[in-house]
């Protein structure tokens, strides 16, 4: 298993929104999706995931609903709200800027 990386502050929100782009998902599914899509590099602590989900819901970026899950019992499914979608776009562009800036900084300087 590759080394795990602690998520930077604020990144988790972006990842959650990103995952929810593809449709409603419950907490477990969101955690798993992040892990899979990062090829097991990003490990989301449940102690951070659930507070984050509730925080996003309070901000109105996601909404939740109780639906039947694959485990044959009720689970809370989160989905992106229109406001959340706009937020995601913003976060994405900001993230790309950040990545580019960091990459440029990290590039070895030619002597």
């Amino acid at each position: 298993m590759p080394d795990r990386i602690d998520l930077m502050q604020g990144t988790l929100d972006l990842l959650i929104l990103q995952v929810l782009q593809w449709g409603p998902e419950h907490g477990h599914g969101i955690g798993q999706a992040i892990r899979r899509r990062s090829q097991e590099v990003l490990q989301v602590e449940h102690g951070s995931l659930y507070p984050a989900l509730h925080r996003l819901e309070q901000k109105g970026w996601v909404a939740s609903d109780w639906k039947m899950s694959e485990a044959n019992r009720r689970a809370r499914y989160y989905k992106l709200t229109p406001k959340g979608k706009r937020q995601l776009l913003q976060e994405q562009s900001r993230w790309r800027q950040l990545v580019r800036a960091v990459a440029r900084t990290m590039k070895p300087v030619k002597e």
Partner: protein, 861 residues
């Protein structure tokens, strides 16, 4: 529905969400072939601490905000209960500060700011001419008549005068307080009678029909709310008066005296300055709409100029017209006392706040270690700060609760004690705006001095605190400053209280010039046929005989004055060996009091020179005079008054001075004696009411019963001079009691402050003291060390306080009597008292320091 709307998941919701998570995880492991039990275990292991996740999520949603709050509350209550001294001191300080200041400001607000019980009260004014010589403001009757006729600024000018007692006849005669007013009085104040009508212009003419308006309470109490009383006739002062109306229950007489009925003044349309008799009236004006005070004042100046031009002899250069709003006039008489109380209340609030601040500062400092430990075992910074704030909130809540109780008690006590001193007290209610302000002030203080350290405590690095073992924050300078301010403020209050206290002492114990014990006055108002000379004389003779027959009576005399009043009239002094003064000459005045045989014996006067009147003197009435020392000083400086002929001239024969007696307080307790002459004629001022002065052992009730039995148709009022003195000292006593209470509370709080700071300082310096003692410093020296700290605080506070008191007590000057506002002995006494108390307050912590066992303290560190 509610939950759907607000999407506020409950704890159960959250638990279910996490359960679902675990179920899905378990299913996934089972799908990979693990048996259920192992799958569940694996899922749990992977999930980590469920409690932590729950807690963290709750934190986000604030789901448990209430649960946490109640937990904090319980914790705070426990902490506060554990230190009862701190809690009691803080709660009591808050309660006193908030409660007392709110009560006082509520009263001030009622008196100064509340709307008056009259329609368009802003248009109502007080109109007068000021006579600084007599320290009085009034309008002579001829000027009232002229001004009412000629003014341009006022819709109405209404007059009132002769507020005094009248006798309401009937089967049981009673004394009622009547006010005489001009016919337009009710119109001026926009008052409509509840029944009947107001006065008409006929009724204010000197010989017009006699009409009376009853107040609501008299109508209810004495006439059983009978409707048929309207239009019927009642005997007042022996004459029939027609009841023309009943005043509404809301009626308030603008002079703030309790009155029972209104009748009319004799307003003569032809009143003239040259009339033999002139009245002095209190006049109220209602401004015409749109007329400003400035315009009205100009109008009065014009009217006053006409008045002076008409009769210059009557006026001095320093007489001037007065116009002020009714509100200012009503508040004016008690303004100084009220400002004094408001200032004292504000000081008390400030001291209370300083005390609370100090207590909180000391407390947080002392709890640095506890907070650090709790931070180290995982309490979040926010949580820690929240708990400290909860404690403050709890303190304030408790303080507020006690304050509300205190306020109710204070207001009730105030109304009880001050009813005589302050007008409009019946209208007083708790002012919750003021309460809010006082609460806000203490809240801000508590948050500032309790909250900032609390926030800092949240930021404290537990390691450094635990390693050093000492409290992280001292706030030493801040706390010392606060205590110094407390001491200074309490010195100011104490000085004020001490000055008022001495005033009261002087008022009650200064030599009165007579012996007030066992001295009664008997007043019998004479009305109707009783005024006829024959009937009057018969009544005098029989009453004197009855009074002298009462067992224990030493002396009884018919008189026109008591030792505490001036007499029937005041005239210009004259003597036979000097030119006569000009007619209407003012100044050189002397009070005349006609007295009957035995007056001086009854009064308990003391002769300085010459003799009293003898019974033989009364065979030739009105030929002799006895003067008081004030008159001798003023009009016979450097010579003997005996044998001189005085007080005669154009209208009367001169009287020969036969004696000089010691001064009595004939202008009231707080003013020096005025020149006074006693004449051997008890009916000097004419046939008015009868006044007897009686020295005897019988209580006033017994005397009243005897008189009632002898003359059932007459009303007689029996009073002790002590009662009269008590009434005169009611207001100063009230001021003194209140300010003393404030000063006492402030003083206590300041001492608690001194004690608190020193006790805390000793606790903090335990290690230092331990080392000193280990190095051989004696316990005595340690004691001195701590006491010195206390002495410094008190010295600084006392100096600042005295400086402040010297400035502030100057405004007390008008309330003082017999003592200067800068009286050095008073300040010395205050400082001595303070130093003594402060030394006591510092001794306890100092002794605690001196008995420190070095071994224990050093090991403790």
């Amino acid at each position: 529905m509610w939950r759907r709307l607000f999407r506020k998941p409950s704890d159960a919701d959250l638990a279910e969400e996490l359960e679902a998570h675990l179920a899905i995880e378990t299913k996934q492991w089972m799908d990979r072939g693990l048996p259920r039990e192992q799958a569940e275990l694996q899922a749990r292991r992977l999930f980590g601490s469920r409690a932590l996740t729950l807690e963290a999520t709750r934190e986000v949603r604030g789901i448990a905000a209430f649960g946490r709050f109640s937990q904090d509350l319980r914790y705070a209550a426990r902490v506060l209960r554990r230190s009862p001294a701190f809690t009691a001191a803080a709660v009591l300080s808050l309660a006193l500060g908030i409660g007392v200041s709110t009560a006082i400001f509520s009263i001030a607000d009622t008196i100064f700011l509340r709307p008056q019980p009259y329609r368009d009260a802003a248009q109502l004014t007080w109109v007068a001419i000021r006579f600084p010589d007599n320290n009085a403001e009034f309008l002579p009757s001829p000027d009232y008549v002229a001004w009412r006729h000629d003014n341009q600024a006022f819709e109405q000018l209404a007059a009132t005068g002769f507020n005094g007692t009248m006798v309401l006849g009937g089967p049981s005669p009673a004394e009622v307080r009547g006010a005489r007013v001009s016919a337009n009085f009710l119109d001026a104040f926009a008052i409509t009678p509840a029944a009947g009508r107001s006065f008409n212009t006929q009724e204010e003419l000197p010989n017009g029909p006699k009409a009376v308006l009853l107040t609501d309470h008299v109508w209810r109490d004495r006439f059983q709310s009978r409707r048929d009383i309207l239009g019927s006739s009642i005997p007042l002062d022996g004459q029939p008066y027609t009841v023309i109306g009943i005043l509404p229950p809301s009626f308030a007489f603008p002079l703030d005296t309790r009155i029972d009925l209104l009748t009319t003044l004799p307003v003569s349309p032809t009143a003239n300055h040259r009339d033999r008799s002139m009245f002095t009236w209190s006049v109220f004006g209602r401004l015409k709409p749109g007329v400003t005070m400035v315009e009205a004042r100009a109008d009065l100046d014009r009217l006053f100029a006409n008045t002076v031009a008409d009769f210059p002899q009557l006026f001095h250069a320093d007489n001037h017209p007065v116009l002020e709003s009714l509100r200012d006039h009503r508040a004016g008489r008690i303004r100084i006392a009220m400002f004094l109380l408001m200032g004292a209340a504000a000081f008390l609030l400030a001291i209370a706040c300083a005390n609370v601040a100090n207590l909180l500062l000391a407390r947080w400092s002392a709890r640095g270690r506890e907070l650090a430990v709790r931070a180290a075992i995982g309490a979040g910074r926010g949580r820690l700060a929240r708990q400290l704030f909860t404690e403050i909130a709890l303190l304030i809540a408790a303080g507020t609760l006690v304050a509300l109780l205190l306020m109710a008690v204070a207001l009730r006590a105030f109304v009880h004690f001050a009813a005589a001193a302050l007008p409009r007290l019946s209208e007083v209610t708790t002012d919750f705006r003021v309460f809010g302000i006082a609460l806000l002030v203490s809240l801000v203080t508590a948050l500032l001095f309790g909250g900032l350290p609390a926030l800092r405590a949240g930021r404290v690095d537990p390691q450094s605190v635990l390693r050093r073992g000492a409290a992280p924050v001292g706030h030493r300078f801040l706390r010392h400053t606060l205590v110094t301010v407390e001491v200074a403020l309490s010195v100011i209050l104490l000085s004020g209280a001490a000055l008022l206290f001495q005033t009261l002492w002087h008022l009650q114990n200064d030599h009165l010039g007579f012996q007030p014990e066992h001295l009664l006055t008997v007043t019998i108002p004479l009305r109707g046929p009783d005024r006829q000379p024959a009937a009057r004389n018969a009544l005098i003779v029989s009453t004197l005989a009855e009074l002298r027959r009462i067992p224990g009576t030493e002396a009884g005399a018919l008189t026109e004055c008591t030792p505490m009043s001036g007499g029937s009239m005041s005239i210009t002094f004259s003597r036979s060996d000097r030119p006569l003064p000009e007619p209407f000459h003012r100044g050189d005045s002397i009070s005349l009091c006609g007295v009957g045989p035995d007056y001086f014996l009854a009064a308990g006067s003391r002769t300085v020179q010459g003799r009293f009147f003898t019974d033989e003197d009364f065979h030739h009435l009105d030929t002799l005079a006895v003067i008081n020392e004030a008159a001798a000083r003023a009009y016979f400086p450097g010579e003997s008054a005996l044998g001189k002929e005085i007080l005669g001239g154009r209208a009367a024969a001169f009287r020969t001075v036969v004696g000089v007696i010691a001064d009595s307080k004939n202008q009231g307790l707080n003013r020096p004696a005025a020149p006074q002459a006693f004449i051997d004629n008890p009916v000097l001022g004419g046939a008015g009411d009868l006044l007897f002065l009686v020295r005897g052992a019988a209580p006033e009730g017994a005397v009243a019963r005897v008189l009632r039995a002898a003359h059932p148709h007459l009303f007689s009022k029996v009073e002790t001079l002590d009662q009269a003195i008590g009434q005169m000292t009611a207001t100063p006593r009230f001021n003194t009691v209140l300010l003393s209470a404030f000063a006492g509370i402030a003083f206590l709080m300041a001492m608690v402050g001194v004690y608190g700071v020193l006790a805390f300082s000793v606790t903090q310096r335990r290690a230092e003291i331990g080392i000193r003692m280990a190095l051989g410093v004696s316990p005595r020296a340690v004691l001195a060390l701590v006491m010195r700290e206390g002495a410094l605080l008190v010295a600084a506070g006392a100096l600042a306080g005295i400086a402040g008191a010297l400035i502030l007590t100057r405004s007390l000057a008008t309330l003082l009597y017999g003592v200067e506002a800068t009286d050095p002995r008073t300040y010395a006494a205050v400082v001595a008292m303070l130093v003594f108390a402060a030394l006591t307050a510092s001794f306890l912590p100092a002794r605690k320091a001196a008995v420190v066992d070095p071994v224990v303290t050093l090991r403790h560190e």
